[in-house]
């Protein structure tokens, strides 16, 4: 039989074929969207009749788009900031000092995965579209629900960094050196888990920028974010739509590249081996 024959030529050709077909299929819609955004007229021909960057000039001079972009940014910044301020201490406290709550916290933060946006929207509309809490149609309801949606990512990144920098030993060391608990957390733990926090923020940003269902159902036109703007443009202007999608994806690329950069960075804390109990140098 073919013992230990690692690279049969037929196998190589097959794997190459599979990879090319799948990646082409995945990239094709984005590539044609880009092509459409730089086309002059592309209606009933296989290829566009001419090329131009007008769509981008028009897009970035369209006030409605710029406002939508600004709103998406604002929602993302406020949500991520609040999430970090509240969740990082919460995760830190639970994982170091109240371990019996850890299982519960893990389950709770995964709930958003089990609840589709449409389902979540129903209860939120019911609760928040009439007094006393009529925040439906405002930025506040989006911040409220996006906080929940990004929980899994914030939890995972923060928890992993706490584990990889060995937070428990860092705290002990800082306390031995005379720092109080809160001071030790701010001065020692936070700087060490920063790469994880940055990754969590970047992932959250890309999720909030791409979210459409809740934005459309909960606030729609009264606080128009980028995805809702795109939806409204879809029927009216193909060039602006395609330019919006490419801009959105350029942003996703940048965020993704940053995630890779920070995600691969090794923890900066110099630590003894896992079994050793000596203080960090």
């Amino acid at each position: 039989m073919h013992t230990a024959e690692k690279k049969k030529p037929a196998g190589r050709v097959w794997h190459l074929f599979v990879v090319i077909v799948i990646l082409t299929f995945l990239l094709l819609p984005l590539l044609v969207t880009f092509l459409f955004s730089i086309s002059t007229v592309w209606e009933n021909t296989i290829m566009p009749l001419g090329l131009t960057f007008d769509a981008y000039t028009n897009l970035f001079s369209d006030e409605r788009f710029l406002f939508a972009l600004g709103r998406s940014f604002l929602v993302a910044v406020i949500t991520v900031a609040l999430s970090l301020i509240i969740m990082v201490p919460t995760i830190f406290i639970v994982s170091l000092y109240i371990p019996r709550l850890e299982k519960w916290l893990q389950t709770v933060v995964l709930l958003p995965f089990a609840i589709p946006g449409v389902v979540a929207a129903v209860g939120l509309i019911k609760l928040y579209s009439s007094p006393p809490f009529a925040i439906s149609g405002t930025i506040w309801i989006l911040i409220g629900v996006y906080f929940i949606i990004i929980l899994p990512y914030v939890y995972q990144s923060t928890r992993n960094s706490l584990r990889s920098v060995n937070a428990e030993e860092l705290m002990e060391a800082a306390e031995v050196l005379g720092a109080g608990k809160s001071r030790a957390f701010i001065r020692v733990i936070l700087p060490n888990i920063m790469p994880g926090i940055i990754v969590a923020s970047l992932l959250s940003f890309s999720i909030i920028f791409g979210e459409f269902v809740l934005a459309n159902m909960l606030v729609g036109g009264s606080y128009e974010v980028v995805q809702v703007y795109l939806f409204h443009m879809l029927g009216t202007d193909g060039h602006l739509s395609s330019a919006t999608i490419v801009t959105f994806f350029a942003l996703i690329f940048i965020l993704f590249a940053l995630v890779l950069k920070f995600g691969n960075r090794k923890p900066q804390a110099k630590l003894p081996s896992d079994d050793g109990k000596e203080e960090p140098a």
């Binding site: 039989m1 296989i46 919460t90 449409v118 209860g123 929940i148 890309s206």
Partner: protein, 283 residues
């Protein structure tokens, strides 16, 4: 000492309060309101099972449920098959190439919802690039109507593939080349290897990924909504129309349908878990 640690414990619990409040306001309370609303009659009064009866017997809604379940099963099945074959092919390349391919696939998980609908319109719409190209090349059998169920199935399969690759890749990567070699030394051919070793080892991961994909498609709303506004009779589209539609809202029926959707996901997960346990015992 004891006094100090109890006060510290109190401070720690106090710091958890903002998170608990947030959970309560934007997860727990809305869920409770939805459950209550699903048992009310139109107008939000009384107690009735009528909304559930309507949701589970009226042909409009039973068809929506059926359509959603079939579309989700088909797209999850095709998606995972393509992903297993594709992700395995990924593993045969050098580490650098492998990472690049995975990065491309992973980033394309973001190409969903409204942008995806647009991309498919340019490709496969009536005057779409590939539609025209296929016609010109005499490959008319490749042309499909994007605004039909076939078209929608293609779109769903598209967004399932990168998610499936993301989830299944680590397990495929764990299939050691040495196992294949040992199996080959013992006289097994490739087919026998996958049948006796590869697939059984992968089964838990495949089943888990399948349920995530099923849930992913069951809850998907944006793409179908953007493709042809509310023309497809799917469960999420019905729910969306009822609570946020331009027509007069029927939040109570919408709540009942939303809970039916949630229960279908729960049941699917439960069956999945059971079958997995059986499969493990069978080995």
């Amino acid at each position: 000492m004891a006094g100090r640690s109890t006060s510290q414990h109190k401070i720690r619990l106090l710091l958890l309060i903002p998170f608990l409040l947030w959970l309560f306001a934007f997860l727990l309370l809305p869920a409770i309101m939805m459950v209550i609303s699903s048992f009310q009659n139109e107008g939000g009064q009384g107690f009735t099972l009528g909304q559930y009866v309507k949701g589970l017997t009226h042909p409009l809604y039973t068809t929506a449920i059926k359509n959603s379940v079939i579309l989700s099963l088909v797209s999850a099945l095709v998606g995972i098959t393509v992903a297993v074959i594709g992700a395995y092919s990924f593993t045969t390349f050098s580490a650098k190439m492998r990472d690049r391919m995975l990065n491309i696939s992973n980033i394309m998980t973001n190409f969903a919802g409204v942008p995806l609908a647009f991309g498919f319109m340019i490709l496969f719409g009536i005057n779409g690039m590939l539609t025209l190209l296929f016609k010109k090349l005499g490959l008319s059998f490749l042309v499909f109507d994007l605004y039909s169920w076939t078209g929608l199935a293609w779109v769903y399969i598209y967004f399932q593939i990168p998610v499936a690759i993301l989830l299944i890749y680590p397990s495929l990567y764990a299939i050691k080349q040495e196992w294949k070699e040992s199996a080959a030394l013992l006289g097994a051919n490739t087919w026998q290897f996958w049948q006796r070793i590869g697939v059984p080892v992968l089964l838990p991961a495949i089943a888990g990924t399948f349920s995530v994909l099923f849930a992913n498609a069951m809850g998907a709303y944006a793409t179908a909504y953007a493709l042809v506004t509310q023309n497809f009779n799917l469960l999420p589209i019905q729910i969306g129309g009822m609570v946020a539609g331009d027509v007069f809202p029927r939040v109570e029926l919408g709540s009942a349908l939303a809970i039916i959707l949630f229960l279908i996901l729960a049941i699917a997960l439960f069956i999945n878990e059971k079958m997995l346990r059986l499969a493990r015992k069978g080995q």
